[in-house]
């Protein structure tokens, strides 16, 4: 059933409810803990798994085609800028991987308005924000240039 929640670990904080793009992690009224209300609309995107402070959410592959006995666990270390994966095979083999996720501190991206404002008539030009500098070439390519190249 794609994601499922460990009854003893979940404290009902709602982080998974807040993040799930499919709106299928809900808090059960009776137990006050989260569960997947619509497993056949779960993409196994792991967004909720990564967001859970208690590591209470796990995934069991889709019953249509995934034999039992596997595990895919993840720890997303936002501060450290890394994501760690542990793959457990049905036959017990394991693999581990770690990948970088970001090179700058979280929250460090400036709003577009923090950059110098464009001139009053610049909006009529075909250039987008930060161009041509951000293109890292001299000027925005034009149709004439392209057609001349043949």
């Amino acid at each position: 059933m794609p994601t499922f929640v460990d009854m003893t670990k979940c404290d009902g904080c709602g982080q998974c409810v807040d993040i799930c793009p499919s709106d299928i992690m809900h808090i059960d009224k009776t137990t006050r803990r989260a569960y997947n209300i619509e497993p056949n609309f779960c993409w196994e995107c792991f967004s909720c798994v990564k967001s859970c402070p208690q590591h209470a959410i796990d995934v069991r592959g889709y019953a249509d085609f995934a034999p039992l006995g596997h595990k895919v666990r993840v720890h997303r270390d936002e501060e450290g800028g890394k994501v760690h994966w542990l793959i457990g095979y049905r036959d017990g083999r394991e693999k581990e991987f770690t990948f970088p996720i970001r090179t700058t501190p979280w929250g460090s991206i400036p709003a577009a308005q923090e950059h110098q404002a464009p001139g009053p008539n610049d909006i009529k030009s075909p250039q987008l924000a930060h161009e041509p500098t951000a293109l890292k070439i001299d000027s925005l390519p034009t149709l004439e240039e392209a057609q001349n190249r043949g």
């Binding site: 794609p2 807040d18 793009p21 499919s22 709106d23 299928i24 209300i37 497993p39 056949n40 609309f41 779960c42 993409w43 995107c45 792991f46 967004s47 995934v59 889709y62 019953a63 249509d64 085609f65 995934a66 034999p67 039992l68 596997h70 895919v72 993840v74 994501v83 994966w85 457990g88 095979y89 049905r90 693999k95 991987f97 990948f99 970088p100 996720i101 970001r102 090179t103 700058t104 991206i109 709003a111 577009a112 308005q113 404002a117 610049d122 909006i123 075909p126 924000a129 930060h130 161009e131 951000a134 293109l135 890292k136 070439i137 925005l140 390519p141 149709l143 392209a146 057609q147 043949g150």
Partner: protein, 613 residues
């Protein structure tokens, strides 16, 4: 379950962005850059931190020119997309995306997206001619951060159900309405300009996995066709809606194949260990003529070879991963490809004891999808940029649709194949800039809403809740009810119709005029039944409106498929009654416009202009 309060909330803006995926986030950033005083409101049905097709993250950016290193020119990308689409793309829009896309990608890197580098050249590590490799687990949160910082307000968990036009000018947009999936309020957004960036469509066709596994669709299950379902009923001109896409993917997990074919140099074989594509070349040439000679071999034609090979009894088809993972680095890249963007495929490997270093994996052609930013280009007919577009492709503002003040980006826009994540963000930026310029030009003139219409829509929006409540009183329990069907029951009906009549997997993608007409009859009745959808709670109300958008989109897909009397893209779908490509009559875009007053559909051929040799 939360009860709907149905209180009405009004929100005004200069630029209203519907959908905070790649297109929407690009639009918010760009609009904020060009007009420091504009009020920019971004509305999203989920949470922009992890919404849309990139919720997992991605392992590659599939559209990057590398102009700073002289790697590609934008017009070469136009030629590539044109070849892959067997001749038909909006070359003005494609060129425009391609000439700007590098600045988008450079910005991503500056913001903190880790882009892999080639150790020898120091350039971005290429997966293929157009693709670069990234460590993209946090691709979406990074892009969302820039949008959130820039937008005036971001509303998460609001499902937009309808666009609304101006009270006094039926050709002008005035805003959109929807409901809070958490608070049950009725939201009315009034805006000078509106950008639709609500993404493409899964679950139009019955998926191969119909149980739990139906969630493991290739495009996200939440890609609900809203981009098209919002536009079509309003009377916006659509194009190439028949150009659905079938994807060759790792079986069941739908893991992408790009990195395996291009970077890791793996290849596909039939069950006998034969490379099968060359065997089908002559038959393909018989169907599509010289388009078969193009390099790289078009995506749909590769599907076709695989489908024929399976029909000939030589399946399963295998990706021979075990031949290529000979270093730790390659093994890591192979796994990261899936862990970054399709974790479900790693789950399949673990559950089936498949170690890609030792075992091959099955490949399969998926069910069809409808979208506009991949190897396909369904969507709305849009105005192009003034300095590029021929006259009949340009009416005022870049990326404006056929209604004044209404713009689109990403999957929304028709004709712009192969934009992918970076192209969609770029197109969002183009739309954001245009929308803010348009809003500025409209300074004195505010759009007006028709109060009666807004009240009428409110009734329509919440009707599925009433249907459920009233209908349920008549039966003891359960969801078998003569008064309503649930959104899921409706979805299953839709998927069955599309699968069986409009070229899904059960007929191996074959349809014809008779089947399409029969499909339209069935869709007509389903459309009537949309009035009788019963939703138990706000979550189901969201599903009800997702179904509504999918049904409108499906009707459009079916009408376009009926209109184009040829088989342009074997491997995506086949018109059994017109089995070959017919350039003499169909080297054109298909266009459709629904008339909301009469309920009639107007179909037309739209010109294909080639800007490059």
């Amino acid at each position: 379950m939360a009860k709907a309060s149905r209180k009405t909330v009004f929100v005004d803006s200069d630029v209203l962005i519907l959908g905070g995926g790649f297109g929407g986030c690009g639009a918010a950033y760009e609009a904020g850059y060009w007009d420091r005083d504009a009020k920019i409101v971004l509305v999203e049905k989920a949470n922009i931190e992890r919404s849309g097709a990139v919720a997992h993250g991605l392992a590659a950016i599939n559209c990057y020119m590398g102009m700073r290193w002289g790697e590609n020119n934008p017009e070469d990308h136009v030629r590539y997309a044109r070849a892959d689409m067997l001749g038909l793309t909006r070359e003005d829009l494609g060129y425009d995306n391609a000439r700007h896309v590098d600045s988008t990608v450079h910005k991503f890197e500056e913001w903190g997206l880790p882009i892999m580098r080639d150790a020898e050249t120091g350039r971005y590590l290429r997966q293929g001619k157009w693709q670069i490799m990234i460590h993209g687990e946090s691709y979406k949160p990074i892009i969302a951060e820039a949008a959130r910082k820039t937008a005036t307000e971001v509303y998460n968990r609001i499902m937009i159900t309808h666009l609304v036009k101006d009270k006094n000018d039926p050709e002008r947009i005035a805003g959109a309405v929807g409901f809070g999936v958490r608070d049950g309020k009725y939201y009315v957004f009034r805006s000078k300009s509106v950008i639709v960036a609500a993404g493409g469509a899964s679950h139009i066709y019955r998926p191969r996995s119909i149980g739990e596994g139906s969630g493991r669709a290739w495009y996200a299950p939440w890609s609900s066709a809203s981009a098209y379902g919002l536009l079509i009923p309003l009377g916006v001109k659509m194009t190439q809606m028949e150009n659905k896409i079938v994807l060759t993917r790792f079986k069941d997990g739908y893991g992408p194949v790009g990195a395996w074919f291009l970077l890791l140099k793996s290849h596909a074989e039939n069950a006998l260990g034969e490379k099968y594509e060359p065997r089908w070349f002559e038959t393909i040439k018989g169907m599509v003529g010289d388009y078969a000679e193009q390099h790289p071999f078009p995506t749909c034609l590769r599907n076709h070879a695989m489908i024929e090979e399976i029909k000939a009894g030589r399946g399963p088809i295998y990706m021979r991963t075990e031949h290529v993972l000979d270093t730790d680095d390659k093994e890591e890249k192979g796994w990261e490809d899936f862990l970054d963007m399709t974790v479900g495929q790693a789950v399949v490997w673990a559950s089936m004891n498949i170690d890609p270093k030792e075992d091959p994996s099955e490949l399969i052609p998926s069910e069809p999808y409808v979208m506009g930013s991949h190897a396909t280009c369904s969507g709305a007919w849009a105005s192009g940029p003034q300095d590029i577009s021929p006259d009949d492709y340009h009416w005022g503002y870049n990326r404006m649709l056929t209604i004044k003040g209404l713009f689109g980006a990403g999957d929304t826009i028709g004709g712009t194949a192969h934009g992918f994540s970076s192209g969609s963000h770029t197109e969002g930026r183009l739309a954001g800039k245009s929308a803010v310029e348009y809003a500025g030009d409209m300074k004195g003139s505010k759009p007006e809403l028709d109060d009666r219409e807004i009240e009428r829509l409110k009734g329509e929006v919440f009707k599925p809740l009433d249907n459920y409540l009233v209908g349920s009183n008549e039966v003891v329990a359960g969801e078998v009810n003569p008064n309503f069907i649930t959104p899921f029951q409706g979805l299953q009906r839709l998927e069955k119709i599309m699968d069986e009549y409009v070229g899904g997997v059960s007929s191996l993608y074959v349809t014809n005029g008779h089947m399409l007409n029969r499909g339209l009859e069935m869709l007509g009745m389903l459309k009537e039944d949309l009035d009788k959808i019963g939703a138990e709670d706000l979550h189901q109300l969201q599903r009800a409106w997702e179904l509504n958008h999918r049904v409108w989109t499906s009707e459009s897909v079916t009408r376009h498929t009926l209109f184009r009397e040829e088989t342009r893209w074997p491997g995506y779908y086949y018109r059994g009654d017109h089995p070959n490509l017919d350039d003499e009559n169909w080297h054109v875009f298909t266009g459709s416009t629904y008339d909301p007053k009469t309920g009639e559909w107007h179909m037309e051929k739209l010109p294909q202009h080639h800007l490059f040799s």
